[in-house]
């Protein structure tokens, strides 16, 4: 099975050819947004980039570098202030195989001059990559991140099992699938742990769970309370185990090759677990920063979320929400209930949608202009 993608110098394949305009520090956000708006490109803004310590600073840097290296990104402009800890030049030096430029507001002489300079650079980058063409490649080049958000009980009944079906299909076709939302694994984690093929992978999995358990205790929560929202309970979910099992269904049934650090580069094939927080936008940002070109996102109560560097396909668990928020939904898994379709029938529909989107068909979140991105955080900003 093939799709038409952009083959990058390092052999990775993009399903989009974005020019990314990215702040190296929160101080540059306004300028970044104005450059992106004027040129119709995709911005990444964030609140960090300065006065973070140790592993926290390293994580910000890793996510920004990872985002710029995502194969969906054809060229990058990094916009800095000039005096920040995470210098634009440090990020630019780690971006491989694509045009990358950087400017700082202090060097350009203020807001307007930087916007003007940035727009000129982006137009030049757009010209540089305009000639790149899609070429046929095998579906095994796809790296797909899985996420659910705004879940209801139907997510675990319909949409998540549909993702599970597609996960198995992608893995069998030689591709890569990333299951995340570590805190959401609590309760059902033993069922996953048994499927991890290596002892190292099991150790990594235990480390990931222990970290989140300790971290939630440090912040004065238990994950029992912290991950069950009033919306979950109103929607009919009774326990965290039940919710967890419903989420785990997204990952299908194939062996788990191992555990990945949050936003770490994804190099292996098959099904992997990535270690990110449960919050939707941070999770999909981490998957994309690791190299995922496409996100499959299930929702029951409805979520419009997209991502600035990867298309997001929304799979809705029920027909009512699908119709109510149709402009944000791509696939209706509620047909399993209403039309008596099997998980596999809707799964095949989703697989065809994945090919179409990989070939360039925009998802609902792309059409609506959703370009979310959020950094993960570990410590305090001083």
């Amino acid at each position: 099975m093939k799709f038409n993608g952009y083959i990058r110098e390092n052999g990775k394949v993009g399903i989009r050819n974005y020019v990314l305009v990215m702040s190296s520090v929160g101080c540059a956000n306004n300028v970044t947004e104005r450059i992106a708006a004027e040129t119709g490109t995709h911005p990444i803004t964030h609140q960090q980039g300065c006065l973070q310590l140790g592993i926290d600073q390293a994580l910000t840097k890793k996510m920004l570098i990872g985002a710029a290296n995502n194969p969906n990104v054809g060229a990058v402009l990094i916009v800095g202030l000039g005096c920040e800890t995470i210098q634009p030049s440090l990020i630019a030096a780690e971006v491989r195989g694509k045009p990358v430029e950087y400017i700082t507001i202090q060097e350009c002489g203020g807001t307007s001059k930087t916007v003007q300079k940035g727009v000129e650079i982006v137009r030049d980058l757009q010209r540089k990559i305009a000639g790149q063409k899609r070429e046929p490649v095998d579906i095994s080049h796809l790296i797909i991140g899985l996420k659910c958000g705004g879940s209801d009980t139907f997510s675990g009944l319909t949409a998540n099992p549909v993702l599970g079906y597609v996960s198995d299909r992608i893995v069998d076709l030689g591709g890569t699938v990333i299951l995340s939302e570590t805190p959401g694994l609590f309760g059902g984690d033993k069922y996953l742990r048994d499927r991890i093929v290596t002892e190292e992978g099991k150790r990594k999995f235990d480390e990931i769970l222990k970290f989140y358990w300790d971290e939630s205790a440090r912040l004065g929560e238990t994950l029992t309370e912290g991950e069950m929202s009033p919306g979950n309970i109103k929607g009919g979910l009774t326990t965290l185990i039940e919710k967890s099992l419903g989420g785990i269904k997204k990952g299908g049934s194939r062996p788990i090759m191992g555990g990945l650090d949050f936003s770490g580069e994804i190099t292996g094939k098959g099904l992997w677990i990535m270690d990110p927080p449960g919050f939707d936008i941070i999770t999909i940002s981490g998957q994309a920063a690791g190299g995922a070109q496409l996100i499959l996102f299930t929702t029951g109560r409805g979520s419009p979320v997209g991502c600035s560097i990867a298309p997001v396909i929304k799979v809705c668990s029920n027909t009512k929400t699908f119709e109510w928020m149709e402009e944000d939904m791509d696939i209706n898994a509620g047909k399993i209930i209403d039309e008596g379709l099997s998980i596999g029938e809707v799964g095949e529909e989703l697989l065809m949608k994945i090919i179409d989107v990989a070939n360039g068909e925009p998802t609902k979140s792309e059409i609506s202009g959703h370009r979310e991105f959020a950094l993960g955080r570990i410590g305090s900003t001083l």
Partner: protein, 102 residues
């Protein structure tokens, strides 16, 4: 939507609960996707669970073929199963997990 047939969903054959796919009322006879017919003893809101067998106090509530919690008291076939009549086993489970694995 009311006229259209919608099956309550049982995910695994071992499950002792079915999930409502629409608001259903006391006295109604519903059908699951595994073709069990259940007379509802209470209103079951959309997305909530109904017992499809009699479940004794302290017996597991099973969904996805796995234990999701325990019955706090006897639950009859057709009763609503939710936070009001179950015991959450998560805390005990995680404590056991921590002492065994970490």
């Amino acid at each position: 939507m009311q006229n259209k047939k919608q099956y309550f969903v049982v995910i695994d054959e071992r499950d002792n609960v079915a999930t409502a796919v629409r608001d259903a009322v006391k006295g109604e006879v519903i059908e699951t996707n595994l073709r069990q017919q259940i007379t509802l003893l209470e209103d079951i809101p959309k997305g909530h669970k109904v017992a499809i067998r009699d479940i004794a106090a302290n017996e597991p509530i099973i969904k996805y073929g796995e234990v999701i919690c325990l019955a706090k008291r006897n639950i009859r076939k057709g009763e609503h199963v939710h936070i009001h009549n179950i015991t959450n086993i998560l805390t005990e489970y995680v404590e056991a997990w921590k002492s065994n694995e970490i």
